[in-house]
């Protein structure tokens, strides 16, 4: 199994024909950031003892947060990323065990996973008292990260298995609803602290400190428990992956075998193209599922968490980045192998680009609108005029930026991708991680800037920042449109996206 995984990893690395330098830089940057996450908090130790004590109390919640993130990431991607696309692997003996191990290996190529893991390392460094064994604390944290990832993977296979049963999708939705109701009732009922105290993560979260006060036996037992849980989780995941591999792909098959009702005659070319593009999004299992999660989850978190107005301008960036990662970063892959036929139709290329932009805009605007509406309705205070303006400007600027950036990537770096399988992504895992990091960085910085403008009441700065950033995005869109006018550029895009399968 390990030899097969190694061969597939090497194969994937060999297929990276461009951006090798970028990949190397990203890996070096990741090592530097990880080292910084461990080393920088060491310098802050002892400066604020009260804060350190508070941070220690946060450990179990942070551990719980990580496992929840890892689980949601694995479930929302229908079992995690694939080392090799299933349709391409049918001719080769790629076993479910290889698929399982590959999905585990690729789990860190997810920005939420990565940020949470780095956050846990930083928190551990901060709370371990000076003079104690940092290595012992970090080992517990690392073990927790591994255990959580393995358990999340096993759980995601189980959910996919459930989904593959007759009426499985409804069963999964029902279970999801029950979990959501339980979480909401715990949070709104004021039982959050009680839940965290009862959480199993408290047992291992506090083990980070066991090595620091000489409780080595307890520390060793906790580490041993995590190792044992990892082994059990791995075997459970392997079993579920094997069982799942024998099940039919019910959701994809249903989508492909149903008869779609015919629509009336489109009155304009734009409407005709728009219908086709919308169908390509909403009939795709991974896109439909991703859009649903993106519409429901951030909104629910915003509603439950009662986001203050100071940080609310960061929300548009989170949602817009997620929406762009559904298909926007490689927007022409929606046409798949039909791209040659589409290119042969007598229609202005600019209209085709504009329609694709509208569909991407819709995909961003819907979840963002829901999230912001819930956040505003549940905000703990009434906003000042400057805060309301900052939020509106943040949403407009981030939407335009993500739209322009995504379309730019779609033209300059297209990928062959078939969004048929529930696990499919519009670009290879490493490229997706790169897109997500760049989008998250830019949108978060923008959101924070608007948050500061709103909090300090500087509407003049908000408007100035909006004008500058909108102008930059507009310039990017204009340049992109000019490039799209060039037949050679379009031909390369079409040639690339039609290479799948």
């Amino acid at each position: 199994m390990i030899a097969d995984v190694r061969a597939l990893v090497l194969f994937r690395l060999d297929t990276i024909t461009r951006g090798r330098l970028r990949l190397t830089i990203a890996l070096v940057a990741l090592v530097v950031v990880a080292a910084g996450a461990v080393l920088l908090p060491l310098r802050a130790r002892g400066l604020a003892p009260a804060q350190e004590a508070d941070a220690r109390l946060l450990l179990p919640a942070a551990f719980l947060g990580f496992v929840v993130t890892a689980t949601l990431a694995a479930i929302s991607s229908a079992g995690g990323r694939e080392l090799i696309v299933r349709d391409n692997a049918v001719a080769y003996p790629v076993s479910p065990a290889v698929d399982h191990l590959g999905a585990l290996l690729l789990s860190p190529l997810n920005l939420a996973w990565m940020l949470q893991a780095l956050g846990l390392l930083a928190l551990t460094s901060y709370v371990v008292p000076a003079g104690s064994s940092l290595a012992a604390g970090l080992l517990v944290t690392a073990a927790w990260v591994v255990t959580s990832t393995v358990a999340a993977q096993a759980l995601s296979w189980a959910v996919e298995w459930l989904r593959s049963l007759p009426r499985g999708p409804w069963l999964v939705r029902g279970v999801g609803l029950l979990v959501a109701v339980a979480v909401v009732s715990a949070l709104w009922g004021g039982r959050t602290t009680g839940v965290l105290h009862a959480s199993a993560t408290r047992r291992w979260g506090l083990a980070v400190l066991d090595g620091t006060d000489g409780s080595w036996l307890t520390w060793a037992v906790r580490v041993g428990e995590l190792v044992a849980l990892t082994a059990v989780g791995f075997v459970a995941g392997l079993t579920m992956a094997t069982v799942l591999a024998r099940r039919p792909r019910r959701e994809e098959s249903r989508s492909e075998s149903r008869h779609w009702p015919r629509r009336p005659w489109p009155t304009t070319d734009a409407l005709a193209l728009l219908r086709g593009d919308r169908a390509s999004v909403w009939r795709s299992v991974p896109l439909r599922r991703g859009a649903f999660i993106l519409t429901v989850l951030p909104g629910a978190v915003a509603a439950i968490g009662r986001v203050p107005w100071e940080t609310m301008p960061v929300l548009p960036g989170l949602v817009a980045s997620g929406a762009a990662l559904l298909f926007g970063v490689n927007a022409w892959c929606l046409d798949g192998q039909g791209a040659w036929w589409r290119a042969s139709l007598p229609v202005r290329p600019r209209l085709v680009l504009a329609v694709r932009a509208v569909v991407l805009l819709e995909t961003i605007a819907l979840p963002m609108g829901v999230t912001l509406l819930l956040a505003v309705l549940r905000a703990p205070t009434r906003p000042s005029g400057a805060q309301g303006l900052a939020l509106a400007c943040s949403a407009a600027v981030i939407t335009t930026h993500v739209l322009a950036r995504s379309l730019d990537w779609s033209v300059s770096a297209p990928h062959a991708a078939d969004l048929r399988s529930a696990r499919a992504t519009p670009a290879p895992p490493a490229a997706m991680a790169g897109y997500s990091a760049r989008l998250a960085l830019m949108t978060t910085v923008t959101g924070i800037a608007f948050g500061v403008c709103g909090t300090t009441g500087r509407s003049d700065l908000t408007l100035a920042l909006t004008a500058v950033l909108l102008a930059l995005s507009a310039r990017r869109l204009v340049r992109l449109t000019r490039r799209w006018d060039v037949p050679e550029v379009r031909a390369v895009v079409v040639q690339t996206v039609t290479q799948h399968g």
């Binding site: 169908a279 036929w341 007598p346 969004l419």
Partner: protein, 230 residues
């Protein structure tokens, strides 16, 4: 149709100085080995890949100067796929009818073609679930749907069952009878000689032979064809 056509991909000349002229009311086969430049030539004629240099005209229209008009005059069946995965055949046809400004009677023509190619039962299913042969047949339907003056078919018989081959041949003959131009790229020599009037052999991006299709029939024709390939 093409004069001194060159298409370069990086350092590779996919087509190098091709002169090609196909008359109206004739079906011409474009044959040759893999990489001879057949598909690239059809892509250039369809207006989906630009020529690096040279002149390209379809039905009298300069493809580079007026690509939209040129595309209105061609019907193109690409060599692979050719269908949008999550659109149904009917939606493909409706989009084509709209963008090609077809008259309100288009549904009748659409139903007729779907019926002849035995795709009526699948006309409202998304094409991602189609077999290779079904996809090929549907691609031919889309190319021929608007009865274009120039019909460009790239590997239309690949993986298609005998009934589908018959339907494709009928469409080609109807186009020829109506005075239209048909250009077919294929590896299947016998089918090419059955349905086409002329045959052009491409090698290394250039035309090395042009003859009546009949001359490549039978053992003698096959031997002659093989000799032209090397």
């Amino acid at each position: 149709m093409t004069h001194a056509l060159t298409v370069r991909f990086g350092d590779v000349d996919a087509v190098g100085g091709l002169d090609l002229s196909v008359g109206a009311g004739r079906a011409t086969a474009l044959i040759g080995r893999n990489g001879a430049g057949k598909s690239t030539t059809l892509k250039v004629l369809a207006g989906v890949v630009p020529a690096t240099s040279g002149e390209v005209r379809v039905a009298g229209v300069d493809v580079r100067r007026d690509p939209i008009d040129a595309k209105r005059r061609t019907g193109y069946c690409p060599d692979v796929g050719g269908l949008v995965p999550r659109a149904t055949p009917w939606e493909h046809l409706q989009l084509a009818a709209r963008l090609r400004r077809m008259d309100p009677g288009w549904p009748h023509r659409a139903r007729d073609l779907l019926d002849r190619f035995e795709l009526t039962g699948a006309s409202d299913r998304v094409t991602s679930g189609f077999s290779h042969g079904m996809s090929r047949r549907m691609s031919v339907v889309l190319a021929a749907f608007h009865e274009p003056p120039v019909l460009l078919l790239d590997e239309p018989f690949d993986g298609v069952d005998p009934l589908g081959v018959d339907a494709t041949m009928t469409v080609v003959r109807e186009a020829v009878d109506a005075g239209r131009t048909v250009l077919i790229s294929t590896h299947l020599l016998e089918l090419a000689t059955d349905v086409c009037d002329d045959a052009i052999v491409l090698r290394g991006g250039q035309a090395v032979s042009r003859s009546a299709a009949d001359e490549l029939r039978g053992d003698v024709g096959r031997a002659r064809y093989r000799a032209l390939l090397t």
